[in-house]
């Protein structure tokens, strides 16, 4: 189980994440939602160690991850929101790099890379530089990189970005299957329809604070909303979209 307790991050004393709590049980898919600037990316960066929390704790199976940070990192797989990749490497070389950085032995690594590229439809382009890859192909490389070492905990930040319909269905099924096998999945996204289909429960953030953490069905019932979109709009106090559209049109004609 992963437990996040009172996680806080301040930049220049301005709180970006102001006390977030949540837990992910084995087999659970937790959706992590919030408008732009709510603190989602900062939370993800704290989970993978790119940013140090100002205060708060992250526990993995009851132990603080700080006690064995390399051990924790070896058990996670991460798909970042933006495809920040070394584009002068080929897809295969990138997977070799990430596998080696995880300390995977050559024989295992090569076998898994070849199979993964084959299954993701990248076998033909395995020696093509990533700079020539489409957005979807880059996303597949990130997914392969996150899955190569069979992690226990997956952190997915907009994992469907750029994927075609077929691949999206495969990924959705894969996420459900991995969860059924007992893996924990943290799923951060803006696409509420997909979150509603994929996740069992959600955390909704607003200005760095958790405003909801529950099962999706329960939240819908509590707030008397038909969809997660309605729940989200109500909890994050979204501005009237039509008014914004009218203002944009006015600027275009000014």
């Amino acid at each position: 189980m992963l437990e996040v307790r009172r996680l806080v991050k301040r930049y220049n004393r301005i709180p970006v994440v102001a006390g977030v709590d949540f837990t992910i049980q084995r087999g659970e898919i937790l959706g992590y939602l919030g408008p732009n600037g709510a603190g989602k990316s900062t939370t993800v960066k704290m989970l993978i160690g790119l940013v140090q929390p100002t205060s708060g704790e992250i526990l993995f199976d009851g132990r603080s991850v700080r006690d064995d940070w390399p051990g924790f990192l070896s058990r996670i797989g991460y798909v970042p929101e933006e495809a920040q990749l070394y584009t002068h490497l080929s897809g295969r070389e990138y997977l070799q790099l990430t596998g080696r950085l995880r300390g995977m032995q050559r024989a295992v690594l090569e076998r898994r890379i070849d199979s993964m590229l084959q299954l993701l439809g990248l076998s033909e382009d395995r020696h093509t530089l990533i700079s020539s890859y489409s957005k979807g192909m880059r996303q597949k490389i990130l997914l392969a990189s996150a899955l190569l070492h069979d992690p226990e905990f997956l952190i997915l930040d907009e994992p469907f970005s750029g994927l075609d319909v077929n691949m999206s269905i495969v990924l959705r099924t894969l996420i459900h299957t991995l969860a059924a096998q007992g893996k924990m999945i943290f799923y951060s996204s803006h696409v509420l329809e997909v979150v509603e289909k994929v996740c069992t429960s959600v955390v909704i953030l607003r200005k760095g604070v958790t405003v909801a953490h529950d099962k999706i069905t329960r939240l819908r019932g509590l707030l008397a909303q038909e969809s997660l979109e309605g729940v989200f709009a109500q909890l994050t106090e979204q501005e009237n979209p039509q008014r914004v559209v009218d203002d944009i049109l006015e600027v275009m004609r000014s």
Binding site: L50, P70, L97, R100, L101, L129
Partner: protein
């Protein structure tokens, strides 16, 4: 028009042609190596101020030289010195413009990026080509004038004979001399620019795109080394005044001498040989300009289609076995080593910078050789001096290669992608840094040692060559250790901020390094190389020092953390008065 109105005019939107010129001009000051826009301008500004401050002692030395020559009864040494100095200025102008044009090599013609970035705009290909050529020519003219104008007016002023003396009677006023130097140096610089543009144009249009891209890099690297290596020879021209009376037949094939002839004719000479050379200058300038324009027109006709329609060159063959070499390293170290090797192998800009460092090493070796020959050294007979020169050249190569690699490693490649290293660093820092050490060892120390061994074997035979290799490899290993002591970075992953360090500080560091590592050490090692009782203990001592230094570094690295960002610069001290 006042400066404020000029600025306002500049900020307005102008015709597409002017806007494109502005865009292309701005590109000359852009680089992926700088973190913030405008930093390259700052760097250029710093370099210009260093050059300006260096020109003061240079002018003083020249003033003293001509004061001495004016005092002589015989006007001949004065005349020959003037000719040698004008030839020096012409060659310097050609060299400087050649160097600048070579550095702008990839920007000489519109490229794929230009075509794609401007594709959706209402512009004709003709406008893009015209604007690119205009911007390039304007930039080169400005650089040429910046080099030539101070020299054209400063040098004749120093050479000016004193009124009423024998020299004044012989040489007269200096007005035409200024015009001669200005015209000949300017024409020589522009000639060099046109020749290189034509060369690049022919390469782009004649060869298949993939081949021309590959060849283009090697040509650029060769030109860069050639120009840098030619610098000490150009600087040596004023020391060979005795050759200025010669009129060799091959002079008609030497472009700097054409422009010297042009200078002489403008300054009032009626020498038929000078007139012949001057005609060569005019013909050379006209034909190079024509060739450059034709190359541009040719590219306009076909290059765009070729660039945009050639299949993607990024599709690669099955990788060669080299990437699977392990050198007995752990997977994490192999990961870093392979990353460094692939990045260096695939980034033309990084390779080019490494070429510049290699060019400096070659230039330093050429300088040593030129000095030796000017001082009457005979390469066939002077065995001991030959060893000293070889040692200096080998040490120069290892110094510049290792420093070049170290500098290159600081230049980022897609710095935002470094998350992959940051995520997997905790607990594995020494292993990752072992990959960096391997890259310096196998990419810097080993190839240089091998090259040195081959060259020394060719010149001295196998046994002395082996001794020299034994003497020069441990200093390279020690230098490698020294460089790693202060650096806890994975190459290409940290954000480098050029111009953070004062350029004078960098120059002083390199000068001290050259004096200590090359001049003093080569003299010492040359003494050691004479006898086995000297070179064997010296090699053993240096190897022991290397091993001890390495152990100390590994101890420190066990508790170190990798650096991915340069320390932020504090612009304003806030005193932390705000409330939490």
């Amino acid at each position: 028009m006042t400066a404020a109105r000029l600025r306002l005019w500049w900020q307005e939107t102008h015709s597409p042609q002017i806007e494109l010129c502005r865009h292309f001009c701005g590109q000359f000051f852009e680089s992926e190596f700088v973190a913030r826009p405008g930093q390259l301008k700052l760097l250029f500004g710093g370099m210009l101020s260093v050059l300006a401050s260096l020109s003061v002692p240079f002018l003083q030395a020249y003033y003293g030289k001509y004061l001495f020559l004016k005092a002589l009864d015989n006007p001949e040494p004065f005349r020959l010195a003037v000719i040698a100095d004008v030839l020096f200025l012409i060659s310097l102008s050609m060299l400087a413009i050649g160097l600048v044009t070579t550095l702008l090599w990839q920007s000489l013609f519109p490229d794929r990026r230009d075509y794609l970035a401007l594709a959706s705009l209402p512009l004709r290909a003709q406008q893009i080509f015209r604007a690119k050529f205009t911007a390039l020519l304007g930039f080169i003219i400005l650089v040429t004038l910046a080099i030539v104008v101070p020299a054209a007016f400063g040098m004749p002023w120093m050479m000016q004979p004193v009124r009423g003396t024998l020299h004044y009677a012989v040489f007269g006023a200096t007005g035409w001399q200024s015009i001669g130097i200005l015209t000949s140096c300017f024409a020589a610089g522009i000639f060099m620019f046109f020749v290189l543009v034509a060369l690049q144009g022919i390469l782009l249009n004649v060869l298949p795109l993939r081949l021309s891209t590959r060849l283009s890099f090697w040509l650029q690297a060769s030109l860069l080394i050639l120009f840098l290596a030619a610098f000490p020879l150009v600087v040596a021209i004023p020391r060979i005044t005795y050759s200025m009376n010669l009129r060799p037949d091959w002079a008609i094939w030497a472009p700097p001498l054409w422009f010297l002839g042009l200078d002489q004719i403008i300054a009032g000479s009626s020498d038929p040989f000078a007139a012949r050379l001057a005609r060569g200058a005019l013909a050379g300038l006209a034909s190079s300009a024509l060739a450059a324009i034709v190359a541009y027109w040719w590219s306009y006709v076909g290059h765009r289609v070729r660039v945009l329609e050639t299949p993607d060159a990024s599709r690669r063959r099955e990788p060669s076995a080299y990437s699977e070499w392990t050198f007995g390293l752990a997977p994490r170290a192999i990961g870093v080593f392979a990353f460094v090797a692939k990045t260096l192998g695939r980034s033309p800009r990084h390779r080019l910078i490494l070429t510049v460092f290699a060019g400096f090493a070659v230039a330093l070796s050429v300088n040593t050789l030129a000095n030796a020959f000017l001082n009457g050294f005979n390469f066939q007979t002077g065995r001991l001096s030959k060893i000293t020169i070889l040692l200096a050249a080998q040490l120069a190569l290892s110094l510049f290669t290792l420093c070049g690699l170290q500098y290159l490693y600081r230049l980022p490649v897609e710095p935002r992608s470094n998350w992959i290293f940051r995520v997997y660093e905790p607990g594995h820092t020494p292993m990752l840094l072992a990959g960096v050490e391997a890259s310096l060892l196998y990419g810097g120390v080993a190839p240089v040692a091998l090259l040195n061994l081959l060259v020394s074997t060719f010149l001295l035979g196998i046994a002395p060559a082996a001794v020299l290799a034994l003497l020069t490899t441990p200093p390279a290993l020690l230098l490698m250790e020294g460089l790693q002591f202060t650096s806890y970075k994975i190459p290409f992953t940290s954000l480098y901020l050029p111009a953070r360090r004062m350029i004078t500080e960098t120059i002083i560091k390199y000068v001290v390094g050259i004096v200590l590592y090359i001049s003093l050490l080569s003299a010492l090692l040359s003494w050691c190389a004479q006898d086995i009782t000297r070179w064997l203990p010296a090699t053993a001592l240096m190897l022991i020092a290397y091993i001890r230094l390495r152990i100390a570094r590994l101890d420190i690295q066990r508790v170190a953390r990798l650096e991915f960002e340069e320390l932020p610069e504090v612009m304003v001290q806030t005193l932390a008065l705000e409330r939490d």
